[in-house]
């Protein structure tokens, strides 16, 4: 597992340039442009299970779900941030991508630190020291558990129809 480490206020234009928003929609189209203007090595280098450790206000700017769809598709296990911008946060919930808000863990992280995440237990361990993070409320957690918002919605509508 590799950790990709970035700073504060990383906006969605950096995560996925606006010029591709109307020409790339599928994960395969999105993948080569992921983080293109932030880190030219990312799209080539990212592996399933990798984690992003980032600063404040991650994902600010345009409503742009392509970076979320792309990061999920390449198998990013989680993004650990000091804070997230709200549209990005909702987009991640809707795609079932794990976001962790834990400023103390981000502060503790240094290049080369070891890091592991226990999502169910709500803890993240950096260099042997555990930090807890708040979990999502159950009604929001249910969206990710269903496989994302569209699957959740389909199940709900079918259940309503049957009931």
């Amino acid at each position: 597992m590799k950790v990709w480490h970035y700073g504060d206020d990383i906006n969605t234009d950096l995560l996925f340039p606006g010029k591709y928003t109307y020409t790339c929609a599928t994960p395969d189209e999105i993948r080569p442009h992921l983080l293109e203007d932030l880190d030219a090595t990312f799209a080539q280098g990212v592996q399933p299970g990798d984690v992003l450790v980032v600063g404040r206000n991650f994902g600010c700017g345009s409503s742009r779900e392509q970076p979320v769809v792309g990061l999920k598709a390449v198998g990013v296990a989680a993004i650990v941030a000091k804070s997230f911008a709200r549209i990005f946060y909702r987009a991640a919930i809707n795609q079932g991508l794990l976001l962790i808000e834990c400023p103390a863990a981000v502060d503790a992280y240094r290049a080369g630190s070891t890091l592991s995440i226990d999502a169910a237990g709500g803890t993240i361990t950096v260099d042997g020291r555990a930090y807890s993070f708040p979990k999502l409320p159950p009604e929001i957690m249910a969206i990710g558990e269903a496989g994302g918002l569209l699957e959740y919605t389909r199940k709900k509508l079918r259940a309503q129809r049957a009931g």
Binding site: N11, P17, N57, C60, S63, A85, A91, L157
Partner: protein
């Protein structure tokens, strides 16, 4: 207990007497705004629309504005897909290429009714707070789900109260005010929060409130909202929304605030947001003399008639620097028509401007005015992010229409107070 605007709107929407900050409520928005991204949104629902149908024909407002007229076969195909969806499902509120930028159209055509909730698959949906709407951005997947169910969840936000005192002294403008606020509070200073404007709001026109509310998301705000006063009531009436069509909501006097700030409008000065974050705000004098290659006047932030007037007042009878391309992007067909009738467009073109169709144009870097590496654009838009205008080695500075016009004239960033 006293409640904020956000608490009152969300309580009403949820059918509860009161809601607490942090509580999650289910709401049924009055409208869902979508634009060119409608193609991708409905693309997620190919089978679902056949199975479940569109929940309400009057829920979506669809405006083609982002890449108009289509720049290539792919965007043209996207537009065609949107038109086919509109036709097939009888979508009531559809605005094709040339009607304007989605946010301007929503307000201008009377969809923004005070006290309602509007969500949109675009971050600047927060603009409708200018007329007392709880308006906020969502992503495409949530928009897709809304087309099927008509409902979503919202978390009740804490609220920041900003009190305005006095009046702006031109050429200092609403753009300078909101840039100053974002510079002070930071790009994440209002993350997850609602921002209410109080005080001497009556001196601000709806166009000015629109500019301010539009940029709320640049400080992370969920909503940015103004009270519905006489100025708003008159504007809405002219837009075809008489007072009996809405029930305005405002915060109780003793509502609880997470943070309070006050601004003395007369003390403000022209500012710019320097690359590459919107909160990198400096007095214009600090960067005066910086050579620019492109100037952009317009967008959903500053593309209204009063903005074009402010620029034309500086440019009329003069010539833009030969080293600068001045692009003008009126916010809507109505703005374009009015500016054409009253001679504003003639004054701007005679000064050397290129008038673009009412849409987003170069604002998102898809077409119509992409920067070359090393070039600098001074823009009235709302984002100066790296790569935003299609080139990551380009630089974008943000400023008011007056500052952009004065700078286009000189070919370098210029304090509009120094241009007579």
């Amino acid at each position: 207990m006293s409640q904020t605007f956000a608490q009152k709107v969300l309580a009403r929407a949820a059918g509860q007497p009161q809601v607490a900050v942090g509580q999650i409520v289910t709401v049924r928005p009055a409208h869902l705004l979508m634009h060119d991204n409608t193609a991708a949104i409905v693309g997620k629902l190919d089978k679902d629309l056949a199975e479940f149908g569109l929940v309400r024909r009057d829920l979506p407002i669809i405006v083609l504005d982002h890449v108009i007229p289509a720049s290539d076969e792919k965007t043209a195909t996207g537009h065609a897909k949107v038109r086919a969806f509109v036709e097939k499902h009888g979508v009531q509120n559809f605005f094709d290429v040339g009607e304007g930028i989605c946010h301007q159209v929503v307000i201008e055509k009377g969809f923004a009714r005070p006290g309602t909730i509007i969500v949109g698959s675009d971050s600047h949906t927060c603009s409708y707070g200018a007329v007392g709407v709880f308006a906020t951005g969502i992503d495409r997947t949530e928009a897709a789900a809304l087309l099927l169910t008509g409902e979503t969840w919202l978390k009740v936000p804490p609220t920041i109260r900003i009190t305005l005192r006095g009046r702006l002294s031109p050429p200092v403008s609403a753009k300078d005010l909101i840039l100053r606020i974002i510079g002070d509070i930071g790009a994440d200073g209002a993350d997850y929060a609602a921002v209410e404007f109080h005080g001497d709001v009556r001196h601000l026109t709806i166009a000015e409130r629109f500019t301010i509310a539009n940029m709320g998301v640049e400080m992370g705000a969920k909503i940015t909202v103004f009270p519905v006063d006489e100025v708003a009531t008159e504007y809405l009436f002219a837009a075809g929304v008489p007072r009996d069509r809405y029930e305005a909501v405002w915060a109780d006097p003793q509502a609880p605030y997470a943070r309070e700030l006050t601004y003395d409008l007369a003390a403000l000065e022209p500012v710019v947001a320097a690359p590459h974050t919107v909160d990198n705000v400096l007095p214009v004098g600090r960067v005066a003399g910086k050579r620019i290659h492109q100037a952009l006047l317009g967008t959903c932030t500053n593309g209204r008639l009063s903005d074009l007037h402010a620029a034309a007042a500086i440019l009329r009878g003069r010539k833009v620097s030969a080293k600068v391309r001045l692009l003008v992007l009126p916010a809507s067909r109505d703005v374009y028509t009015a500016a054409s009738r009253d001679g504003t467009l003639a004054a701007l073109t005679e000064a050397g401007a290129v008038i673009l169709p009412p849409g987003c144009g170069p604002c998102l870097g898809a077409h119509q005015g992409i920067l070359a590496p090393g070039e600098v654009c001074l823009s009235t838009s709302n984002r100066n992010f790296k790569g935003r205008m299609g080139c990551k080695e380009g630089e974008i500075y943000l400023a008011s229409p007056a500052t952009v016009a004065a700078s286009a004239l000189r070919g370098e960033i210029t304090d509009p107070r120094t241009v007579g």
